[in-house]
Structure formats: structure tokens, C-alpha cells
């Protein structure tokens, strides 16, 4: 980037400047000084500050093209892809718990979790296909294997995990091939954590500010949210005598999820803002309330089947709302040029300063 030389204020306007009008383009410092003088004209001259709708937060100082977003808006449907993120997590973590229950001899806990895993992964895949612009071309996902594309990696992961989750559920339902069933359950349990977490790189590997900036914490948010949901299903569907591990996973997942997501939202600074605003803010707050409420209920309702089930349902709902909130925060951050321009401008200026010092 060329650092413009300044002609200096008050210099005679002549030559090519007279033609292009570029003499008026001055450094930020000079612009600020002139802005003070011009006062009310400032907003008019800086066309980018004119916004279509009143802003909810005080404007960070930035310029844009007629207030339009820099990025193209995410084309995914919140219901499809938000649901896909939630169901993928639920399936993966359910398989992990099902494997644990199978190995430690808790069939009453293992069976509903296996069914949940199969139903969730089927729903997740259906949502993904439904969201394609050309659903009939779904199999084109398997033309190539690209580690640079989390969606490609995820498609192959689903191809491996789906049949294992299916075999685990079908053998549990029918009682056929018990040893194959155990192997499939353990296999699905081994792939489950990857199924639950790969969706974090999937959304973070974009230019969407409120997704990309959270790439360090997002996998932990998703993993713990998935654990809370699967634990919730365990509480919902298994007798209290066998649901102890599910209860511990649910409570641990719920507390971790709320802690890590709150940390993430604060650490991201400006681009963490959408998580607290508008629809995304409402979803995120509701998710945290349900998750914490579910965790409290899971602890207090140790001996009550009904309270356990209610807590489990709250945890599942909380996990779903977490993903929808994350999805919506991404949409909101892509729609406002502030979240794209301000951090990049800061980065650029910091780099220029360090270059000047060097």
C-alpha cells in the first residue's frame, strides 16, 4: 500500500490536483482537524457514515461505501445450517456417551443415546442437503478430499461416522449381531468427538468477523455444548439408576459451554458485540439461561426422574439455541461493515506504526 505524501494544508491548489480534486484528500490527522472546523458538514461529506437504519450502538469511527457491507451475506438458512451444527454436535457426543455406557454396562443409557445419534446425524445430513442450491448434486461433495475445506473433511467424516452410528442403533434395536454392534458403537464413539467439533472450523474458516475471530474457542464451545445436549438426552431418556455419567457430562458440558462462550465473546472485543445484540443476543442469552438452568436442575434433581427429564430437555434446547445464536451473530457481523473495516483498519495502522518505528 502506498503511503500518500501530503501536499500540506494551505498549499496552492494547482496542476493535476485541480483536475482530479485530489488536493482535498488529506491525512487522517488533517481530516480530523478540518472535521472539527466543519462540524455539521462532516457527516455529509463522509458519505459512508450515512446508514440505512439507526444504529443500536455508538458508531466506531470508520468509513464505508454508502454504509453497505463489505462481505456478501451468508446464504445459508439459519434453520438448516444452525440445525446442522446442533444436530451434528448432538450426534457426535451421544455416540461418545453411548460407547461409554456400552463399555461400562449401562444398556438403559446406551440404547436411547444410540437412537439419538442416528436420528440426529440423519437430520443433520438432511438439513445439509436441503440447504444446497442443487441438492441432487450432494454426491459432488465426495468428488475430492480437500483438507483446506472443512466441509469436504466433514462430508467424508459423515460418510465414515454415519454408517457406524446406524449400525450401532440398528443392532441395539434388533439385538442382532451384538459383537458387531459393540464394535460399531465404539467406532462411532471414537469418531463422535470429531463430528461434534469439526463444525467449528467449518464456520470459523470464513471471512465472517464474529465467526473467524472466535476460531480458538469455538471448537470448545461446540464440544461442550454437544456434551451438554447429549448428557441432556441421557437424563431425558434413561432411568436415574444408570444416568449418573450422563448427568456428570451434562453438568460439566453446560458449565464449560457458558464459561468458554462468555470468555470468547469478551475476548473478541468489537466483533464479539453481535453475540450480545439483537436476535443473536436474545438467542445467546436464552441459551445460557436454559443451559445453566438445566445444569442446576440436573444437580438438584438427582433422585427425581421428572426433574431430571425436564433438565435434560432444557439442556438440549439450550444447546440448539447456542448454535442458532452463533449462526445469527455471524449473520449480523457480516451485515455491518463496521465489523469488517474497523479491525482491519486497526491492524493496518498498527503494522504501519511498527514499520515506521523499525
Amino acid at each position: 500500500m502506498t503511503n500518500p505524501e501530503h501536499t500540506g494544508e494551505g498549499a496552492a491548489v494547482s496542476g493535476r490536483d485541480a483536475i482530479t480534486g485530489a488536493a482535498g484528500v488529506v491525512s487522517e490527522e488533517q481530516r480530523a482537524r478540518r472535521g472539527e472546523r466543519e462540524g455539521g458538514q462532516r457527516s455529509g461529506r463522509r458519505g459512508g457514515r450515512r446508514r440505512g437504519e439507526p444504529t443500536r450502538v455508538p458508531d466506531a469511527d470508520f468509513r464505508s461505501y454508502h454504509g453497505r457491507p463489505v462481505l456478501n451475506q451468508i446464504v445459508w438458512e439459519a434453520r438448516d445450517i444452525g440445525g446442522y451444527l446442533f444436530l451434528g454436535g448432538l450426534a457426535g457426543a451421544s455416540s461418545v456417551l453411548a460407547a461409554g455406557a456400552e463399555v461400562t454396562g449401562r444398556p438403559g443409557l446406551a440404547r436411547p443415546l444410540k437412537y439419538t445419534a442416528l436420528a440426529a446425524i440423519s437430520g443433520s445430513t438432511a438439513a445439509l442437503i436441503h440447504d444446497l442450491g442443487r441438492p441432487e448434486r450432494f454426491l459432488n461433495m465426495l468428488r475430492v478430499f480437500k483438507p483446506t475445506s472443512p466441509m469436504s473433511v466433514g462430508s467424508w467424516l459423515l460418510m465414515g461416522y454415519g454408517p457406524l452410528a446406524g449400525a450401532a442403533a440398528v443392532t441395539a434395536a434388533t439385538g442382532w449381531f451384538p459383537r458387531t454392534g459393540t464394535a460399531a458403537t465404539i467406532g462411532a464413539g471414537a469418531l463422535g468427538p470429531l463430528v461434534a467439533t469439526y463444525t467449528a472450523p467449518l464456520i470459523c474458516d470464513t471471512a465472517v468477523p464474529s465467526w473467524h475471530e472466535g476460531y480458538r474457542e469455538m471448537p470448545f464451545v461446540f464440544a461442550s455444548s454437544a456434551a451438554a445436549a447429549a448428557g441432556g438426552v441421557g437424563l431425558l431418556a434413561s432411568p436415574t439408576a444408570q444416568s449418573g455419567p450422563a448427568r456428570r457430562v451434562a453438568v460439566g458440558g453446560a458449565l464449560t459451554e457458558v464459561a468458554v462462550s462468555s470468555f470468547m465473546e469478551h475476548r473478541m472485543g468489537l466483533v464479539g458485540e453481535p453475540y450480545g445484540q439483537g436476535r443473536a443476543g436474545a438467542l445467546t442469552r436464552a441459551a445460557k439461561a436454559l443451559t445453566l438452568g438445566g445444569a442446576a436442575g440436573a444437580v438438584l434433581g438427582r433422585r427425581s426422574r421428572a426433574l431430571s427429564a425436564l433438565s435434560g430437555a432444557a439442556l438440549v434446547a439450550g444447546s440448539a439455541l447456542t448454535r442458532l445464536g452463533v449462526f445469527q451473530a455471524g449473520v449480523q457481523s457480516a451485515a455491518d461493515p463496521k465489523y469488517t473495516v474497523v479491525p482491519q483498519r486497526q491492524r493496518l495502522e498498527e503494522r504501519q506504526h511498527s514499520e515506521e518505528r523499525a
Binding site: 502506498t2 503511503n3 500518500p4 496542476g15 493535476r16 490536483d17 480534486g21 485530489a22 488536493a23 482535498g24 484528500v25 455529509g44 458519505g47 468509513r63 464505508s64 454508502h66 453497505r68 457491507p69 463489505v70 456478501n72 451475506q73 446464504v75 445459508w76 457426543a93 461409554g100 455406557a101 463399555v103 444446497l132 442450491g133 442443487r134 441438492p135 448434486r137 459432488n140 468428488r143 480437500k146 483446506t148 475445506s149 472443512p150 466441509m151 467449528a200 472450523p201 470459523c204 474458516d205 470464513t206 471471512a207 473467524h212 476460531y215 471448537p219 470448545f220 464440544a223 461442550s224 456434551a227 449418573g244 455419567p245 456428570r248 457430562v249 460439566g252 458440558g253 483498519r345 493496518l348
Partner: protein, 302 residues
Amino acid sequence: MAADGQPSRKGFFTDTSVCIGCKACEVACKEWNQVPEDGLDFLASSFDNSGRLSADTWRHVAFIEQRQPLGHQDPGVGRPEGGAGDAPGPVDLGMPSFDLPGQRTGEDGGSGGGDFRWLMSSDVCKHCTSAACLDVCPTGALFRTEFDTVVVQEDICNGCGYCVPACPYGVIDRREVDGRAWKCTLCYDRLGDGLEPACAKACPTDSIQFGDLDELRERAERRVEDLQEAGVSSARLYGEDPGNGVDGAGAFFLLLDEPEVYGLPPDPVVTTRDLPSMWRHAGAAAVVLLAGAAAAFAGRRS
């Protein structure tokens, strides 16, 4: 041709200092590539009614109106103020201004005249060296051509839409009616026949220049030096640096203000630069999940 027989890297240099906002590039692109209509809207943003790059807008001319002194140049029309005797004063020709038409009278015409500048810039796909859209495409529909440009194969694309939020410039988009992703191809079909892209061909002022990227970079460097020397202190290149966040754009620009004023990101970085770290974090989270579950089952039986 490079030494190995491969064609050299092709690109665009868009010199916005000579853009006149005629939109011939938008029209030529639509005509040649048979891009569907993109909405006959009135956006109330100067002369820009296509708004942004999208699946159906592969060239987009931005119009920015700024309150900047134009240097009070004599347009060569009207009469000098305070002319001899009965000579009429300056005539309001309705030239762009921030005042209402006709409101500026002879007395203050001198102070307000020319306090307006128009920036125009024809935006296009940047054909990044490190292209996020190409990296994240799960089907391989997006590929890199022999001209080092990035093109979507429409018979492969399944419309997953991943490339849309991946692009740091907001270029590629999904066409709602046919469900696939579309963007500038740098006229891949014309390049194969040794022709220049339709937009560059149609540009009447050579604001859009097509050619070998190396040569364009040299030309742009000279142009920006000339402009700086002539006093256009605001002239700067955007996207030409191979050391930038996308390792250099195949389509770069000479701008007269900060990039964000034109709707361009000031410091875009290809998102996949952080992907290895993302995979490591996801792997760590998966291990934590597994360990946490194991710990939960290792406790006392209940």
C-alpha cells in the same frame, strides 16, 4: 508465454483515476457472459444502482460523492463573474453539487463552486493468489486456470454456498434462481482465444487494463508515481502487493481514497491462513470431550 510453455499470469489493473462511470464494463460483462438481470432498482446512492458484486453482477461501478474542493477549475462555459457591463453572470449548468439545484446564486457561487468530487471505480473479482473461495470449495468446482485465475465450473457446483462467506471481498455469491455460485471468470473463454476480457475491451478510457500481471504491476507503479508527482497525493495502489493478506490480487486497483470508501476491505486476509490452527484447536477440543466423557464414566457406578 513463460519459459515452460505455460501462459503467464493474467490480471486486471483498474485505474480509477480515469474512470468516468460509464458502466460500459458492467454492460459488456453481462452481454458477453449472459449474466441475468440483477434487479432494476433505484438505490439512491449516486449513480450506483447495482450496489455490490454478486452472482449476477460481475463488474460493479462504485460512485462516491465527496465534499472536496475540485480546485475551482474553469469548466470553459458561462461568463466570468463581474464581467464588463451588461454581460450575464455565470450560468448554473446543474453541475453536481451538495446544494439544491439552482440554489447557488452568483454572489456565493465563487465560494461553493466545485466543492464536489466524484470517485468512480469498477470493482471485480480479485482472482487472489491465495483464494479462500477456492480453498473452501468442497466439490472442486472452483479451480485455478492456466492463466492463474479462479473460475467456477457450473456443472460441478452443488450450491453449498461455502465460498460466499469465505470471500473477504464479498465477490462470489449464490444465484437464487439456479442455486449455484457465480462470479467473474476473467472471461476464461475469451482468454483461451487470445482475446481480452469483455470489460477491458469495452472500457473507453482504459481505466480497466488487462494483461500480464507482472507488466501491469510495473505500469501501475509508474502511474502512481506520475500521479503523486503531479500532486495527486491521495493516489495509492490497492491489492498489488504479493505480500498482502491474499498473497497478491490478480486484479488490483489505483484508488484516490481509502479502500473502505469504495467498499473494499482495508486489509483482507485469506481465512484459510488460520485453518491449520483451527484444526489443531478442534482436535484439542475433541480430545477434551473424549477425556471428559471418560472421566464421567470412570467415577463411581451410579
